[in-house]
Assembly symmetry: C2
């Protein structure tokens, strides 16, 4: 919503003046009260807010000039060095910040004590709110719930919905990829994963949903860390024991790259013998041989949406907390194809 310019007297939108007149104060006072910048007496400010709400005045949701604190977990920073998922999310956050006139400051947070310090820093008036990137720890979530400013979880969520969050729709991403493979005739689709995070558990649920009765637990291959070498090793072992499957759904690009290696080493062609699809879809997956088919997570949008949500919550603290899930997109490249005849049935 922006000012109307010349034609204003015709449009009957609510203006600052309307609110000011009904409250018996100047437009400047109303402006200060609604934007939160400058001094207005508390009870007057409340009266003005109520009137603005009653008249449906479009509240200025601008947080321009304020700062946002980004709490990044050790996991997020590790990933930063390793797979750049975090990097792309940060790009989305930064771009949106520039647009909205905010600034982000990153803080490394790995203990509840770190977080307490961060929350204390965030109490400052210049801070609009806190973004928490890839943080699952129950204690840290509990602490954040009682914070009086907006907190938005990025790439994670709160089961009890007491904190707002933005994450990819992991469950439907995995389900859609699995459905796609089934439509290509695959029946035994392995799920390669590194369990632990809630968001990753959701991906496994999606695979299970789409597999239905065919969700044989022995098709799940687990590794202890998001490392290609571990994934390659684990898959090679399974291959050696004669595990039967015609497709692999990997719950992360690093694992899928490990699968490529193990399959190459075992002489299995991609996608002739085994189709591979990965969830995440970092840009570098298109440079692999063959270019990898992926369920791409909208990483920039994840960051941008989180910031938008933070601003909305800052502008309207009474709004209910919300969980936002972003749709992922299947990018078909060269690593998936029809199930081989012999093994299809």
């Amino acid at each position: 919503m922006r000012p109307d310019g010349k034609r204003a007297q015709i449009s009957r939108r609510v203006r600052l003046k309307d609110v000011a007149e009904r409250c018996g104060v100047s437009t400047a006072t109303v402006s200060r009260a609604l934007s939160g910048r400058g001094y207005v007496e508390a009870s007057l400010a409340r009266r003005i807010h109520d009137m603005a709400l009653r008249l449906n005045y479009p509240l200025p949701s601008s947080q321009a000039g304020r700062r946002v604190l980004l709490a990044a977990s050790g996991a997020a920073l590790l990933d930063f060095a390793r797979s750049q998922f975090t990097l792309h999310v940060l790009e989305g956050i930064s771009a949106r910040c520039r647009t909205l006139g905010l600034e982000v400051e990153t803080r490394h947070v790995s203990t509840v004590a770190d977080e307490a310090a961060l929350l204390e820093e965030a109490a400052d008036d210049a801070i609009a709110g806190v973004l928490m990137l890839t943080i699952d720890d129950g204690g840290m979530l509990a602490l954040a719930r009682n914070f009086r400013k907006p907190v938005v979880l990025v790439n994670g969520d709160d089961a009890d919905m007491r904190l707002s969050s933005v994450a990819p729709c992991n469950r439907s991403a995995a389900a859609l990829a699995t459905q796609h493979l089934r439509a290509l005739g695959h029946q035994r689709i392995a799920f390669l994963t590194c369990p632990g995070r809630r968001t990753i558990a959701r991906r496994q649920e999606g695979w299970r949903d789409a597999m239905g009765a065919a969700a044989d637990p022995s098709l799940v291959i687990e590794v202890d860390d998001w490392r290609s070498d571990l994934a390659a090793e684990a898959l090679s072992r399974r291959l050696a024991t004669g595990m039967a499957f015609t497709a692999i759904l990997a719950s992360g690009d690093a694992l899928a790259i490990g699968a490529y290696r193990a399959l190459n080493a075992a002489g299995r062609r991609i996608p002739g013998d085994v189709s591979v699809i990965s969830i995440d879809g970092l840009p570098q997956t298109q440079l692999l041989d063959p270019p990898m088919s992926v369920m791409a997570i909208p990483m920039q949008a994840l960051g941008a949406t989180a910031l938008d949500l933070l601003c909305e919550l800052a502008a309207n603290p009474a709004a209910p907390r919300r969980r936002v899930e972003l749709a992922c997109e299947l990018l078909r490249r060269r690593s998936d194809g029809p199930a081989p005849e012999g093994l299809a049935g």
Copy 2:
């Protein structure tokens, strides 16, 4: 985002002038191009849009003056007459429309043919997008997926995430209410529901999550319609067979009211003998005797958020589809209490 006023020269936000200079045109032309009002040559308009994007100019996302079509299912309209859930959602939509300068028009849609007609009407330039209220039908959802303007499902969602949606977080609402009852010592908590809709299935999942091993299927009481009389009847029958429980979680207010009646008729005190909590939380539940404890769905916020989402999608058609879930709030009134001693163990 709004104009900066006096201090503008200090803040280094991007202005119309910046875009205008880089494109070699006047600010007026850029204004027309970005707002879509007035005449700008198509190729120039595209150049201006690209530049605005590149410079991170805050695009005016205003849809003021346009219209929104609200497709309401038979179920929604039935509910309108019966429980006013729909009424409150509509209030949220209307209030937000007034704020944003849009208009809503409601269309009754019960067949795919109705919907096709609605979508044809929505192709008009003056229509910003379509809101679909309480619509689950697979065929109708499929048709909407291919529509080139924003479509937002209200009080429902798309399993495949190809349509955006806003709904209460039914699963956590039911889980939180159940956890609350368990914390009060209740062990046998009946779940009174009318199965059918996806959103209602989610509530049952939440009950099951929170019950864990205690989720005895015989604790689920199902009725065929959202009517108090049917719920009262069903519960009375169960009571007569000696069904043991100390609390009831109802998946809708109408059913909970039926439970009140059946319990009164059977001489069971609320909450002395049986605690009752309902999900929905329409205002009238506080007038019951005893005032009913509820998991309140933020109905106005549901409508308002749906409209905001529609506007965001209209302003940025490239954004990924999203599912938004709103937190519900436990309103403790007088119908829940500690489990009676005798039956608690």
